[in-house]
């Protein structure tokens, strides 16, 4: 609740809409955080034109913290995570900007250096654990391979012992027996646990989970999320959770970054996002999310329309064709791309609506409906 105060004060002190623009723009120099992404752009040349999948993304993430990146399909979430991991093939993707991890810049780094960091210092788990594991190798072999590529000195026996230990740690029963099973002999939830074991086998400082629970059924989802949280506390790594499901990030994330059309539209703490969301798109996401922690709920309100084509983004604010409040920006949203500005400490928003108007709309029209 204390986080609310500066926001209210600011709004009270600066009632004039124009002062919004005077709020300080987002700092672009790499911070001291463990992971600093600065103006990351990932563009793909396709036959149909240039796809700006990620267009100027900036955020920081500290060790031991979890960042949730939220957005619809095609908002650039997964492309961002693959970009940080250096997994885009240079032939097709053009990656610019900076990704600083522990004082090392990765975008301009040598490909072999990034490969060494991959799986060792930064690891990733994927959406569909069925297709993400190789069907021809045992689960143990795949974990051992992940371990030995970064620990060439380790003997087969040690690596195997390590794999069994990791499987045990992620809650797979009889790990010394299951280690020799093939992925198809595992259930979906078990497979995702095995993927997590594989990702964490080298004790990475950064773990990226790309829709880790989307392919799983609901009861298993909660188990996997609990597991990720427990492991993060144990290993102290920084975690990025990519999801379209606000419920997932509500459980796990310290900070949330909402993406739309390859850009960040709102970035704040998880608490702020659920209590003081400022961007109309965030309101839309919240309104379309079923909540069992609220007593009364009329009806879920979908965000009207569909996500924009990344080849042909709408002029101005990419969200304006779907934004119910675009008419209150006096045309600005149709011509100018809104800048991401810090409206309060730890709260960045990219919207043409004056902050006071946003607060008013939220208090009067949005909040009662949620």
């Amino acid at each position: 609740m204390s986080k609310k105060n500066p926001l209210e004060k600011q709004a009270a002190e600066q009632p004039e809409p124009e002062t919004d623009i005077l709020l300080k723009p987002v700092q672009e120099a790499p911070g001291s955080a463990f992971l600093s992404v600065r103006d990351l752009r990932i563009h793909f040349n396709t036959d149909d034109g240039l796809v700006r999948a990620v267009d100027g993304l900036t955020f920081d993430l500290d060790r031991g913290k979890t960042l949730g990146i939220v957005g619809e399909s095609g908002s650039g979430k997964s492309v961002t995570s693959l970009g940080i991991m250096g997994l885009h093939r240079t032939a097709r993707a053009r990656v610019t900007g900076e990704v600083w991890m522990d004082g090392e810049e990765l975008v301009s780094a040598d490909a072999d250096r990034v490969r060494q960091l991959r799986g060792q210092k930064m690891a990733m788990i994927f959406q569909d654990p069925l297709t993400a594991m190789h069907p021809y190798y045992t689960v143990g072999k795949q974990i051992i391979e992940a371990y030995r590529v970064h620990h060439p000195e380790a003997s087969r026996r040690d690596a195997r012992a390590k794999a069994v230990k990791m499987l045990d740690r992620v809650g797979i029963p009889q790990p010394d027996r299951r280690v020799d099973d093939y992925p198809h002999q595992f259930s979906g939830g078990m497979r995702q646990r095995a993927m997590i074991a594989m990702a964490l086998v080298n004790d990475p400082s950064l773990l990226i989970a790309d829709e880790p629970t989307t392919a799983l059924d609901v009861t298993v989802q909660a188990q996997i999320l609990d597991l990720i949280r427990d492991l993060q506390q144990e290993f102290g790594s920084a975690v990025i959770i990519i999801t379209h499901d606000l419920g997932v990030v509500a459980e796990l994330a310290d900070d949330i970054l909402v993406m739309y059309g390859g850009k960040c539209v709102e970035n704040t703490s998880a608490e702020n996002l659920f209590t003081e969301p400022e961007h109309p798109y965030t309101w839309g996401l919240l309104g379309s999310m079923p909540r069992i922690d609220r007593e009364r709920q009329d009806r879920l309100v979908p965000v009207k329309g569909s996500p924009p084509s990344l080849i042909n983004l709408p002029q101005g604010c990419a969200f304006h064709p779907r934004c119910p409040f675009a008419d209150r920006t006096h045309g600005a949203s149709e011509t100018e791309i809104p800048l991401l500005v810090e409206t309060a400490p730890q709260h960045r928003v990219a919207c043409h609506l004056p902050q006071a108007t946003r607060k008013e709309i939220f208090a009067q029209e949005i909040s009662p409906r949620l």
Partner: protein, 334 residues
């Protein structure tokens, strides 16, 4: 259990093939109105007397019921058989695939003497086409759209389109007559002189491998393009594996599975006789034997060569099934 089941199916299949083949040669003519006497007449010299025909008919057992003839044939394969021909009696040893009354020889030794030729041709070409086809396919897939890719796929298209009697004859004309590098020579057994064996087989190998490696290059390319887009390849890269390991251990391993299947079938088919290549290069293999047998209407020979070809295909099938289980762990549990 899996292997036992497959083995049982293979034996059953061979029995069915033999019964069908037997029926085609002995039942169908009879249904069409041919009498056992007319059949026997084919095995006697010109203008035979009725008595001579009758004797042959009895000696060959054409007067017996068909199922009994079939039983004697199968029995002969495992136990040997005695034939009466005129005043002579001849014993046909195990495995007895019949006695050719046209060449006056047991059929089986004729086939075994030709087997090494066909085997040398098929296996040598197979090694060549697997190495070149898979190699080119992988490179093309990795450099998709590059000059190398387009060039090799163009050549592959030509390789698939050109018939083997064309490429074979062209290669003979160029490298045997215009520039006599490889003489169009007789087959020399590998046990006699391995170097000459190989040298005399270079042109047939290349002609045969050209066709197949073109096919395999395209198959491998398509398979690699598919597997390299799989999620588990992304996982392998995310683990920080070197690209070489990703391609070979994760990509190629999966892409090879369908190729193993087709390879088994192709090799089995060729071992049963590479008819065109053997005829173009005058190699005295099973394929040429089959052509001669058909030209001579030598039923026991045709029957035997059909069974041998079927045997190779069934065995290849069996080998593929077993290999498949070894390659893809999911198969065993189906």
């Amino acid at each position: 259990m899996y292997i036992l089941r497959r083995l049982f199916a293979a034996v059953l299949l061979l029995l069915i093939v033999s019964a069908v083949t037997f029926a085609i040669f002995f039942l169908v003519p009879r249904l069409a109105g041919q009498t056992p006497t007319e059949l026997a007449a084919q095995y006697v010299g010109r203008d035979p007397s009725a008595a001579a025909i009758k004797a042959v008919e009895q000696n060959l057992g054409f007067d017996k019921p068909l199922y009994q003839q079939y039983w004697e044939y199968i029995h002969g394969i495992f136990a040997g058989r005695d034939f009466q021909y005129g005043p002579d009696a001849s014993h046909c040893g195990v495995p007895c695939f019949g006695y050719s009354f046209k060449s006056h020889l047991d059929v089986w030794p004729l086939i075994t003497s030709r087997l090494p030729v066909t085997a040398s041709l098929a296996i040598g070409a197979a090694v060549l086409w697997v190495v070149s086809g898979v190699g080119i396919g992988v490179l093309s897939a990795l450099k998709k759209g590059s000059l190398l890719d387009r060039l090799s796929m163009g050549i592959a298209l030509a390789g698939i389109s050109l018939p083997i009697f064309f490429t074979g004859l062209i290669s003979l004309a160029l490298f045997s007559y215009k520039w006599p590098i490889f003489a169009n020579d007789v087959y020399i057994p590998i046990t006699q002189n391995p170097l000459m064996w190989a040298k005399n087989l270079v042109l047939p190998w290349i002609s045969l491998a050209f066709l197949y490696s073109a096919l395999y290059a395209r198959l491998t390319r398509a398979g690699m393009l598919e597997t390299m887009g799989e999620d588990y390849i992304r996982t392998a890269r995310a683990k920080g594996l070197p690209e070489r390991t990703v391609v070979v251990k994760h990509g190629l391993r999966a892409a090879l599975t369908p190729i193993v299947t087709i390879f088994g079938m192709d090799l089995g088919l060729l071992l049963g006789g590479a008819i065109l290549v053997e005829n173009v290069f005058s190699l005295q293999g099973i394929g040429q034997f089959a052509v001669l047998a058909i030209q001579n209407q030598d039923l026991p020979e045709i029957m035997a060569v059909t069974l041998v070809a079927a045997f190779f295909i069934v065995v290849a099938n069996l080998a593929v099934d077993i290999l498949y289980a070894a390659v893809d762990p999911r198969v065993r549990f189906l």
